[in-house]
């Protein structure tokens, strides 16, 4: 199957191209087919590849397909090459499968939109870019996918571009992630100049053999790559763009949060894990960023009133868990959480989309309530998603993946108590904010207007059911470490991602490690019930009136003032500088080139007056000069 790898990203690219070139003549039905089918076909190819990969594992534990070399200057020979190992296989499966389900949902969800064709063209481009990113065997090709993801997210976040705020959100996403992209580019150049190859596997092997453990250059390269990763993955301090990215249509949010874009950073670090193994410093930074982000975003999610913003913060928090796992060298645990998260987060966003549609484009959860009775199907699906997000023990996939991370945060040789504690507190926050949403939206009394739509077409519901099924059962492929059962996922990934060393611990430790996160997440649900679920939320009411708490809630609602900080510390000085630097000597120098060019052009243009005799004179003069030069030399 390794000769068809190129088909996987090519099919969505083809869908994009067909929609762009011929889409204006197509009906909605054709557009829907051409928009959604490529992702489905790519998923089929990916599944076939996975089967052949599992049945007859290649000797190198990877499929490689080199298409061609773009051009060559010395060692700089960027190739169009695909590399499929267990890591990229899992990523590919999730991107194509979840992406396809989201596209299916969109065929009906977006039906009334005038930009129907544009929507599917961009979505195909988005999925294709992400597939190029995860399948690229070359750093430059990876960068093509990386930039493609940035571009298509910009286009989709600003999809409803007629409203100024949406355009601003799109710009913000692009510019903030660009900060990280710059770091990534510098990192890639560093790797290329030091190791002399663009081939990812080759560069990793070279790094392992040439760079010593803890070498400064390895730390620098790892930190630069991490800069790119935290930009795309919306981690502290570059997280500000993601809550605003809700400006796009809901399926876009689902795609950004579940399959494409924000997981790119996690993938990048897992892909270049060799560098992070060489550098304890970089690993520690990743772990601390992950822990801080998951707490920060968990608290922020708790204060949000916009249902989509709350989910956005929850994504930041969950990606924080993945970073935490990466930071303690639990590479495959991070990817495992990515896998389950893709399912339940897509499910949550798609359900939220239906809730918003039912409430006639109302996003504010304070104006909802009691929807359990009006839209029971959506309620059940959302409940499954929220339970998986809260990692309720045994019945959800989220439990298995999050438990693995929290466990390894303590027991990995690179882990520590503080990281573990952050994970546990985060688990409490997670189930608290998840079920706050559930109780406020679906329980209690109706606080706003009545729903305008209560029935949804099958094509919308069935993809969500598939996602819900995944959110429930997927976890069973990897049992918690202390159960001493099977660990299919880690074993499968072992050829691509090494297993972290485990600190030995007593039985008591093991019980504590397994039980505490589970207890905490159930406690979070109960706490949410006490605070937000009871008919008369007395406790919450008495809290809210206290001034200290109100300040806290306001700060959390605003994401702890990062936006304002960046505005004051970066945006305003920059604008000031740009404004006052408009006519400085650098600008004068640049426009100083334009002036003479214009003058020279004007002078030359006078010679082109259309009179043949002058043309002949010029030619004759030229000949005289040439002959003279010929004679004199």
């Amino acid at each position: 199957m390794q000769h068809v790898l190129w088909l996987i990203p090519f099919l969505p690219v083809l869908g994009f191209a067909v929609l762009v070139v011929f889409g204006h003549r197509m009906g909605r039905r054709t557009i829907a087919v051409i928009g959604a089918a490529p992702a489905g076909a790519a998923a089929a190819v990916a599944i076939a590849t996975a089967v052949s990969f599992l049945v007859a594992p290649p000797a190198t534990h990877a499929y490689d397909q080199v298409m061609w070399t773009w051009f060559r200057i010395g060692a700089f020979a960027p190739r169009i090459a695909f590399h499929l190992d267990p890591l990229s296989l899992v990523m590919t499966l999730v991107v194509t499968f979840v992406g396809f389900l989201i596209l299916l949902y969109s065929t009906r969800f977006m039906r009334g939109d005038e930009g129907y064709r544009r929507f599917f063209a961009y979505m195909d481009l988005f999925i294709a870019s992400m597939l190029i990113l995860v399948l690229a065997g070359d750093f430059l090709f990876l960068l093509v996918g990386w930039e493609g993801v940035g571009l298509s997210s910009f286009l989709l976040i600003g999809f409803w571009y007629r409203e100024r705020a949406n355009g601003a959100a799109a710009r913000k996403a692009f510019i903030v992630t660009r900060v990280g992209d710059t770091a990534l580019l510098v990192g890639l150049l560093l790797i290329f100049t030091k190791l002399g190859t663009l081939d990812i596997q080759g560069a990793m092997a070279a790094a392992q053999s040439q760079w010593a453990q803890g070498a400064a250059v390895a730390t620098a390269a790892a930190l630069l790559l991490m800069g790119g990763a935290i930009g795309k993955s919306a981690q502290l301090p570059l997280q500000t763009w993601l809550p605003d990215a809700m400006a796009g249509p809901t399926p876009v949010s689902a795609l950004i949060h579940a399959a494409t874009m924000v997981t790119a950073g996690v993938y990048l670090i897992a892909r270049t894990h060799v560098l992070f193994e060489l550098s304890p410093t970089a690993r520690l930074v990743v772990a601390v960023i992950g822990a801080a982000t998951l707490l920060y975003a968990g608290v922020s999610a708790l204060a949000q009133n916009d249902i989509k913003r709350a989910l956005a913060y929850s994504t930041i928090s969950q990606i924080g868990y993945m970073f935490l796992a990466l930071g303690v060298a639990a590479w495959s645990a991070a990817v495992f959480h990515f896998l389950t998260h893709a399912f339940f987060k897509a499910l949550l966003f798609l359900s939220a989309g239906l809730v918003i549609k039912a409430m006639d484009e109302e996003h504010d959860i304070r104006k909802m309530g009691g929807l359990r009775r009006d839209i029971p199907v959506v309620f059940r699906l959302f409940l499954i998603g929220a339970a998986a997000l809260s990692a309720l023990p045994l019945v959800t996939a989220g439990f298995f993946s999050k438990d693995l991370i929290v466990d390894l945060a303590l027991t990995s040789v690179h882990g520590g108590v503080w990281l573990w504690l952050a994970g546990v507190v985060g688990a409490l926050l997670t189930s608290l904010y998840s079920f706050r949403l559930v109780f406020l939206v679906f329980f209690g009394e109706r606080r706003g207007s009545a729903p305008v739509a209560t029935r949804f077409p099958r094509l919308v519901v069935w993809p969500m059911v598939a996602l819900a099924a995944g959110s429930v059962v997927l976890g069973w492929i990897e049992l918690p470490v202390h159960w001493h059962g099977w660990s299919l996922f880690t074993d499968f990934m072992a050829s691509a991602l090494p297993v972290p060393g485990i600190r030995a611990g007593g039985l008591l430790d093991a019980i504590a490690v397994t039980l505490i996160p589970a207890i905490v997440s159930v406690a979070g649900v109960y706490l949410a019930w006490v605070l937000f679920g009871r008919r008369r939320p007395a406790v919450a009411g008495s809290l809210v009136t206290r001034p200290g708490f109100r300040w806290l809630a306001g700060a959390a609602l605003a994401g702890w003032g990062f936006d304002r900080l960046y505005h004051v510390a970066l945006v305003r000085p920059f604008l000031w500088l740009a404004h006052h630097g408009q006519r400085d000597w650098i600008d004068r120098l640049v426009s100083g080139i334009a002036g003479p060019a214009a003058a020279l052009g004007g002078l030359l243009r006078r010679t082109q007056d259309g009179r043949l005799r002058y043309y002949l004179a010029a030619a004759a003069l030229g000949i005289v000069v040439f002959v003279a030069v010929g004679l004199l030399r």
């Binding site: 773009w70 030359l604 030229g622």
Partner: protein
Amino acid sequence: MSDAHLLVLSPYIALAATAVVVMLTTAFYHRHLLLAGLTATGLAATFACVLVAGAEDRRATALLRMNDVSLYFIGLLVVVALAVVALSYGYLGRTERRFGDFYTLLTLGALGGAVLAASAHFASLFLGLEVLSVSLYGLIAYPRRRPQAVEAAFKYLVLAAVTSAMLLFGMALVYAVSGTMLLDKVASAGAGLAGWEAAAYKAGLALVFAGVGFKLALVPFHMWTPDVYQGGPAPVIAFLAAASKAAVFVVLLQSLAPLDPQRGGVLVVVLSVVAYASMLAGNLLALFQQNLKRLLAYSSIAQLGYLVVAVVSSGAAGGARGAGTVAVAFYLTIYALALLAAFGVIAVLAHAEGEPEALSQYRGLGHRRPALALVLSVSLLSLAGMPLTAGFIGKFFIFRAGAGAAQWGLLVVFALTSAMSLYYYLRVIITMYRLEVAPYAAALATSPGGMSAGRRAADRVAVAALVLLTASTLLLGVYPPVLLRLIEHAASVFR
């Protein structure tokens, strides 16, 4: 002459036969579709002959040098001519009532170009050049009710006649002192000469170069370009810009190939000066141009300047010579693709009263005819050398060849003027995607519905050809090896 020799010459035989058949058919059946179809079939047959000829022993005549480079360019010429037929079919249907002689002239022009591309002798050089030029006079003046076209043809005729005379005189001088007309020997014949003989030899070479420089529209022989480009019918100008320049350029490349860089000192200096002047003048003149056809004319002056940079570099020692040849062959190909597409768009938009020339007429084209706007955008971006288009790879090869030959001064000007060119290329693209729609573009939206079935089909043929050209431009931008392998193989004759 054996059968094998006939096979080697089969592209010429096929082209000439096509011209005769089309001419005779015109006399009796004046059906447009039939004539265009015959021409296209003949050209396709010629292309097949090129493939066959490539497998044969090459020494058929002393006049023609049928090596892989010339065969490659004959193939390119035939493809260009085919594209021009596809563009002309709809164009002539809309603007003219007589078509037959057009295709005869076009085929003859291609024949002249093919002779030129393989010429190894002053005689074949002059013969090819004249066959090509005479066909072009007729083609440019073909819409004879349009005074601009007649004026353009007249200007071209006068200037071409003068420079042809120079060329002939230069050949005579060189022959007088060196006693040879074979291009291979001419280049090295100057070594043993002294006194007035050396002077005559050098003056002769300078005159020959002037004749070639005129055809290529290099500074200072560039003045005719904007007027002729503006006045002539768009498909013909596409042919003039893409095919005739490619054919003449091969002569330059092939006859300079055996040139030793040490002895070629003067020529390298002259060529460098011409390259500097062409890059600067072409780009500066294009900067504020408001007429698209004139803009393309100026830009083609600059593009030819870039190509001379590669020729200068190909004169350098060692492996760089191959690099220069590869750069030239690749760039001429993608330049042909881009210019064909750009003039093709103008041709498709033309109607009986004339062609849209002013940039303002293109305002809003992106909303009315998105496919055409896309084709024009891609070809302009390719001319500007944007990555992911073929133009980037082409400029990259020129840069590599120049760097290999250490022509730093030329490369600096090359890079700076390329950056400058972005200004006027992007201005066209921005104009096309402006929200307000010019009256001209607005009228387009209604016309396809009002067209007759035949016209719509012709329109589709042209658009399909343009989409094919654009797709090739994009394909070569991301997947250059498809063409590169062929060119590198062909260029190995110079190693």
